[in-house]
Symmetry: D2
Subunit: 423 residues, 4 copies
Amino acid sequence: MTQDMKVIETLESEVRSYVRSFPTVFTKAKGYKMWDKAGKEYIDFFSGAGALNYGHNDPKMKEKLVEYIMSDGITHSLDMASTAKAEFLNTFNEVILKPRNLDYKIMFPGPTGTNTVESALKLARKVTGRTDIISFTNGFHGMTIGSLSVTGNAMKRKGAGIPLQNTVTMPYDNYVDDHDTLEYLERFLEDSGSGVDIPAAIIAETVQGEGGINAARFEWLKKLEQICKRWDILLIIDDVQAGVGRTGTFFSFEPAGLKPDIVCMSKSLSGYGIPFAITLIRPDLDIWTPGEHNGTFRGNNHAFVTATASLDYWKDDTFEKEIKEKSQIIYESLEKIVKNYPEIKGEVRGRGFMVGIASEVEGLSDKVAAKAFELGLIMETSGPKDEVFKLFPPLNIDEEGLKKGLAIIEESVKSLVKEPITN
Amino acid sequence: MTQDMKVIETLESEVRSYVRSFPTVFTKAKGYKMWDKAGKEYIDFFSGAGALNYGHNDPKMKEKLVEYIMSDGITHSLDMASTAKAEFLNTFNEVILKPRNLDYKIMFPGPTGTNTVESALKLARKVTGRTDIISFTNGFHGMTIGSLSVTGNAMKRKGAGIPLQNTVTMPYDNYVDDHDTLEYLERFLEDSGSGVDIPAAIIAETVQGEGGINAARFEWLKKLEQICKRWDILLIIDDVQAGVGRTGTFFSFEPAGLKPDIVCMSKSLSGYGIPFAITLIRPDLDIWTPGEHNGTFRGNNHAFVTATASLDYWKDDTFEKEIKEKSQIIYESLEKIVKNYPEIKGEVRGRGFMVGIASEVEGLSDKVAAKAFELGLIMETSGPKDEVFKLFPPLNIDEEGLKKGLAIIEESVKSLVKEPITN
Amino acid sequence: MTQDMKVIETLESEVRSYVRSFPTVFTKAKGYKMWDKAGKEYIDFFSGAGALNYGHNDPKMKEKLVEYIMSDGITHSLDMASTAKAEFLNTFNEVILKPRNLDYKIMFPGPTGTNTVESALKLARKVTGRTDIISFTNGFHGMTIGSLSVTGNAMKRKGAGIPLQNTVTMPYDNYVDDHDTLEYLERFLEDSGSGVDIPAAIIAETVQGEGGINAARFEWLKKLEQICKRWDILLIIDDVQAGVGRTGTFFSFEPAGLKPDIVCMSKSLSGYGIPFAITLIRPDLDIWTPGEHNGTFRGNNHAFVTATASLDYWKDDTFEKEIKEKSQIIYESLEKIVKNYPEIKGEVRGRGFMVGIASEVEGLSDKVAAKAFELGLIMETSGPKDEVFKLFPPLNIDEEGLKKGLAIIEESVKSLVKEPITN
Amino acid sequence: MTQDMKVIETLESEVRSYVRSFPTVFTKAKGYKMWDKAGKEYIDFFSGAGALNYGHNDPKMKEKLVEYIMSDGITHSLDMASTAKAEFLNTFNEVILKPRNLDYKIMFPGPTGTNTVESALKLARKVTGRTDIISFTNGFHGMTIGSLSVTGNAMKRKGAGIPLQNTVTMPYDNYVDDHDTLEYLERFLEDSGSGVDIPAAIIAETVQGEGGINAARFEWLKKLEQICKRWDILLIIDDVQAGVGRTGTFFSFEPAGLKPDIVCMSKSLSGYGIPFAITLIRPDLDIWTPGEHNGTFRGNNHAFVTATASLDYWKDDTFEKEIKEKSQIIYESLEKIVKNYPEIKGEVRGRGFMVGIASEVEGLSDKVAAKAFELGLIMETSGPKDEVFKLFPPLNIDEEGLKKGLAIIEESVKSLVKEPITN
């Protein structure tokens, strides 16, 4: 073990996890590549769990950031006004909101995903005067008590140490075979004897990343929005992981034609992997009292700078088209694997660059990811039983890198199938 | 109104607050100075609400940060191993923990104050199997549901939109005249009919910043620790605002001789105003399951780099001594104001560089802060009725800057006393 | 208005309800008949909402009760030992439990339905160490906070004034067309990402009285029990309303072949309409600490005496057979009404003597009940929209009375159909 | 062991408690005397924990009850109108409310103490739109979840199996030496940073029976009422145990000059030891929706009959005077015991016929009660550590019976002091 790894094992809390799957010390990164201390190169199909959609250390953003720092631009400003913030707001409005015909107020709730979710839940309760939130099976929304209450994973929920309250879980799309899960949901809403009160909001991901790469059908999402309207329930789309292009469009809900009441964004929003989050709010719902929600790092100007720079990717539709094309390569490759290796009992899941293979063979996905790491590819697993190996390549990866990574995955699967699979 | 300010007013949520007190657009900052777009210079006695204890854009940290970025060092690593993290861990251990004879495991809970508090509460509940947390009147611990449940402020609590549960509030030091508030607390604990169950933990600040610059006496803190030990309750010190030298020592609890079970740190920890937080855990309590608490930005390597650089300030006791000396200047100046302007019915409060004047004249403190801003000084108010104007100068401010700032405060008070004070 | 009615309207709280449906002052009752102050006779198809299954003032029970009172038998004994209690325990065991091959410990939780439910929920949580209870849509279990938390009705839930917690509602049998609702339930249990934690218990009625006379199929109930066993969840059957012969057997769950872990009984248990309740507990679950649940009136000896006397009805299977035969008359009569009056869009629901007609015509059921009252029959409505008129004749009613009552119902329906039905 | 006792031990749940302290089978009772199956006579200083203030089987009430039963009067009527109910309402109004200048609406919430408390809490929350209730240390209000949430006893609270919420416990009178506990309470109310929200109601007993015979001073109670008025908080007096003459007046709060917003009554209200409860409501607060709170046995006509008869005791002030005189005998006797037996470190507590001796000698009170039982006196202990032996003689006991009972107590103490006291 290296000295650095020893330091980490000695001093860092047992809660650390990814270092256990990827047991090496990283030093440098660029685009879709990472290098460890020994100089070994890795292809990154993990992308910081969706926080590095533009790869590592994008040169243009880097340039802007260094320039800003060198000029002694404001670093930390809470919610005072700064030029960097104004520029971000303006650019986000011009490049993202206006062209999509969206009209949101922008809230800076603190620079993490769970902060934006907590702010959304609070606002929904304040606006409606109701207490309950409906969330979905296998949803993941964060680890602070408010967000954790709408998160499905039993291990993570148990970590709260208290009963999680004021929430109701409903079945996500395709949760029960041959059942229209929204029919269930609406049955509960329309029946005043159901025990399920009309909630303040329904919170949903369009594709569940942590929950096992479950992609809801567009018609399901659209119907969900209609139900919300019918019962005067706010629709919150948590686009923390699926947003910023991950599923092929800036907002993951665009192709479904949704117009959520509140949108939660974080992860890749800063573009550069630095902490940042916003909550988008339908203007008439923006009834916050000043300071009613806050957070010390809500004015992270470094993030304003890189986020503004990152929006260059979205000035026209070139980037979207590239994602679309490359995602075809991914699908075909994964479908081929599933077909060629029936032993893994695999199923391709997902949308855009948010994809994976769910294997019914217990423990297999973990082994595939471990083997891939050995072969120089970083990739994680997800799902309630870690049954999915999950590909999150950077959106701007070139074809060469993509194919190289996919080849490693196939090789990993192959090597495991050749070895008898036992648990 | 400038174009930038217009953008902010149009696009940013109504929740924004400081921009209302300090209505100008900032562009640049260095040390204890800030400049707005019009080129006006301000002395900063606000320090990012305690996140900028070393002032803005400290040159040494800046150098290290830019160097790191230029070399394509890992920016975002979740809880994978990186050299920057290892270096931070090692330096924090050598410079801070070891010399203070402290032996903590270090957890990265996500890069904000509320994240470290949430992680502390979860761990305390998990370790003890109990659900309740005791917090104190006028305590402030954050805005996500778990942290908000241990926060006293009624307006902020109401923002939750749900009843806040699993917590009991006890009176902080000096809360009721002539009463020993810990006698009350312990009476509840020792009486099995009190309705107050033995809690998992007691969470406390040594000086309450948001709550009105209430400094608990050292003997009160020491007695609190003894009560915790007697009843097998974990003691969590939330040092997010009072820590990192703000009250005169790195940890605010050092002069009281405490050894808390869990310590929450954030704000000035990164040194540079970028998001960062850690939770310090007594090693035998570190029973987390891997991943049981997490957060996308828990591996913010920029923060690792600047935080490591910032610890240079603590390599010997020079910095502590300087803080001590300069805090004397502050106290004397404030005491003089209280004495010379009896009309403000003022009382000096606080410890070290975490001080203020509480005025019984309703609305006065807000006016002092507003006047000071006009005169080029940034300073906020706190307390349940905003009755305190609160000084948070950078710890490394020079005497000239300090005196200039104090002079502006006196001038502000003076101008308000001359004008008849009405509400 | 009579003087008595005026007293009630002046002094009794607005919460009173049945007096509004049956606006007369009752003085005397015997068997299935009641008389008001003016001497008008009524047929009682309400039976005290199921608390008078043996009719009013059964002569044998009356004799025993008066004899007991005259002899100065203990009236009130908390949970001290009394001969009357011992006799009840022994008789209940010999006449009810043993012949059904049931082996329960008997708890006296306080003399009302909600008390037995609260005791059951507490015990289930204590035994399992889990906090959640699963209940069903349109379930009704009582009006104190614990019982109300597992009750579906929105109006009643709202009366709590606080969010009702630690419960999850699942769909009852036939809740969604063509869906197997238990498949849905079990999907949530088997998926560790469902957000539904394994509960302490599932509480169910075999026929939902307040919820609209919904009778679960026996195979559904049996499957529910199997699910409970599979997941180590306690099964609580709330037999407060459906028990004591109402559906045809002493325990309503007998024909489904269930052996619940906990059974809640009250209402007709005393036989005479006086307050009484018991909780039946699988012996190995009886881990209460003495006094951990109690209630001043848990030792209501008058109830012990009449309950003991009432068990004479169950010494052989004669009574069961009679109920069966007479319930045939009821069904045929109701089916005829539904067939002959298609305008009411009616559906016959229920089991045994716990039956009704659900009408899709809004407001109709209330009108039928009102008309019937006019014609000398007492009958209530139920269901989330009061869409069911509900027949609860005494089990020991004679054929003459039964037919007379049924004729009044038909006449009421007829008169309403002739009048155009409008709302 | 007798056959009856064997039946109880075999079939009754482990939750039974008093039968363990008084291990004999009772058969008959009259006035202040009880007899067991072996014919042994006991003096009853327990009075059904306050449910038998008029002793057992009062002849006049018995006569009325039997007469009513024999005439086939309505037994069970839910909240339909009955002559027995109208008579009770009218008599209660004429004999109790009017002469005391009280103007309450009367609610029948279900026939137990916990039912009236639950209804009071629900109404207070509904009226105010607030969720919290403030209760006091060592308060006891019942065992269903709502009532248990405002009960102090840790063992009983733990029985809930879930965290008890929406309540805050404040210190009762004399809880901490030399502190004015209401000053503390009001400090929390007036400080918007206290973490204690303005509650819907404060619920209090004037003398805490279960909590250890703690009698609040009249001035404390009066000040509590003023605080409630000042902060627009409803005052609920739980007079379930202290009411109906137990402390010397019909309502325990009369001598303190209170006029509570809501009053909870049960226990001795029926006079005869049969289940009964009412909630008294300030008329303008009576905003219940019909049926928003209910309970099957809320129309217990046997109780209406005996309760009406019992009010004969209150037609003039004779009864009050007698209680006063006899309570002097009790006090003097207890004071003498405390003085003559300093070894017991005793303190006399209570008011009227609700009195006891608190002993600092651990375990002593239990031994005194056990010895007294041996000598033919029934008496229980109370307080968080069972440190009080508690005298609840019937209010209509004659001097002879009273003195005989007191003599047994002295003898019991004496015998224990002579034996060396060890644990």
